[in-house]
């Protein structure tokens, strides 16, 4: 059995010390559960429509989902706030060490969890190890009915059968913004771009930005509302903070 001394302790950081790069703040109190983020994410990231049969098997594909909870027993139930759940882009991710093909790797430059589609062999180990259950698997080659293939986003790979996928924090937009900023010889400004889910949210429940910059909106909101991480006891060092006042 591995003891504590066997682990490379120097690489393990405490959640207080860890600072990521890109992060989100989600205010559950203002989330109305309208699912606009789910739709926008599907359109932005070429997510497949699985159809009723596969959905019946529980093979729906979403990179973001709205979780709902309630208090009490039927018929005396009271809805509590909805909870948008997407990849938490953990700094110490449980999905990463289990991949036998190194298809889910940590980006040192962007501090994101990457899913490299051309490396993925479809063992689904990462999805089984994800405590947030945010990964989805392409069980088939899902075809879109005409004329929907015309609105595929050319900046995002169209995944094929046997490949795992998950939220990327709209890395194509990150690259686009960084490329534009570099061509103009400046840094990416806070709020210059945002993810598809944050952009479409009518209640502004989702805020995206740099968490390593204390001046950014997402850092300030996280500080102001004392945003909490999901399952911090697992030491995943997630980059998404949630606030639920009640």
């Amino acid at each position: 059995m591995a003891t504590v001394t066997d682990l490379n302790i120097s690489e393990v950081k405490l959640s207080e010390e860890y600072v990521g790069k890109w992060g989100m703040f989600i205010n559950q109190d203002v989330c109305t559960g309208c699912q606009a983020c789910v739709a926008a994410c599907s359109m932005e990231n070429n997510i497949a429509f699985v159809g009723p049969e596969d959905a019946g098997y529980g093979r729906t594909m979403n990179w973001i989902r709205i979780e709902r909870f309630w208090d009490g027993e039927y018929p005396e139930i009271k809805m509590t706030s909805r909870q948008p759940m997407m990849c938490q882009q953990c700094g110490h991710a449980p999905c990463e060490p289990v991949c036998p093909a190194f298809a889910t790797v940590h980006s040192q430059a962007q501090q994101l969890n990457l899913q490299v589609y051309n490396r993925c062999v479809g063992t689904r180990y990462c999805a089984n190890n994800c405590p947030y259950q945010v990964r989805s698997f392409n069980w088939r080659d899902y075809k879109r009915p005409e004329p929907l293939p015309n609105q595929f986003n050319p900046d995002v790979t169209v995944r094929q059968r046997g490949v795992m996928e998950k939220c990327t924090f709209c890395i194509q937009r990150i690259h686009q913004a960084e490329d534009k900023a570099r061509s103009e010889g400046r840094e990416v400004a806070d709020g210059e771009f945002t993810t598809a889910c944050a952009q479409v949210c009518p209640a502004d429940a989702i805020t995206f930005g740099r968490v390593d910059n204390p001046e950014s909106l997402v850092s300030q909101l996280t500080k102001q509302y004392e945003g909490l991480k999901h399952l911090p006891e697992l030491g995943t060092l997630s980059n998404v903070s949630y606030f639920k006042g009640g």
Binding site: S107, A109, L114, T157, I171, Q172, D179
Partner: protein
């Protein structure tokens, strides 16, 4: 049954049959491989060597390379800007597709030659801004007519240059050798 088949294959006629089958499979495979190494057929046998020889810059016809992800293929309007002043355009047989395209207004269907797979996100602008020249990847265009690939655009080719460019700079290496730089 199987034993009889093996016995038949061991006699001279059987060996010849095995040899013929092997040769057929081998030659089909070689032909298939040779097809992948050939430049695709273009609607016009465009002579890159002549145009570059006249001193036309790459970016004149492919201006997207310095602005965004795609270098772009020129429309017939761009060709016509020069070619309508050249008398031979009207009579030349090779340029008939261009004349037809301009007169009918249908675009010329150029076939892209330098392509990367769908799971690779390539951006020309970043490479031009980093001081790369077109010929570093696309070869010397003064030597070819229809565009050809001087090398296979695979990950080894890209990463080789990325690692070399980064050199000792660990921050730059993190960025240039990151999977998420090209694959997302």
């Amino acid at each position: 049954m199987i034993k009889r088949l093996f016995d038949w294959l061991k006699q001279p006629l059987g060996l010849i049959a095995v040899g013929i089958v092997f040769l057929a499979v081998f030659s089909v495979a070689v032909y298939g491989l040779s097809l992948t190494q050939k430049a695709p057929d273009q609607p016009i046998q465009f002579p890159h060597n002549k145009h570059v020889g006249f001193g036309i810059q790459c970016l004149y016809c492919h201006p997207g390379a310095s602005k965004g992800p795609n270098a772009g293929l020129p429309s017939q309007a761009k060709c016509w800007a020069c070619h309508n002043q050249i008398a031979r355009t009207q009579t030349s047989e090779l340029l008939a597709p261009l004349k037809n395209a301009v007169e009918s207004g249908t675009p010329i269907q150029w076939v892209p030659v330098a392509q990367v797979p769908d799971f690779v996100q390539f951006n020309h602008r970043a490479h031009i801004a980093a001081g790369k020249n077109c010929e570093d990847c696309h070869g010397d265009m003064t030597k070819v007519t229809v565009a050809e690939n001087p090398q296979v655009f695979n990950m080894g080719f890209c990463l080789d240059c990325h690692v070399k460019t980064a050199g000792e700079d660990k921050v730059l290496l993190n960025k240039l050798a990151d999977c998420g730089t090209c694959h997302y």
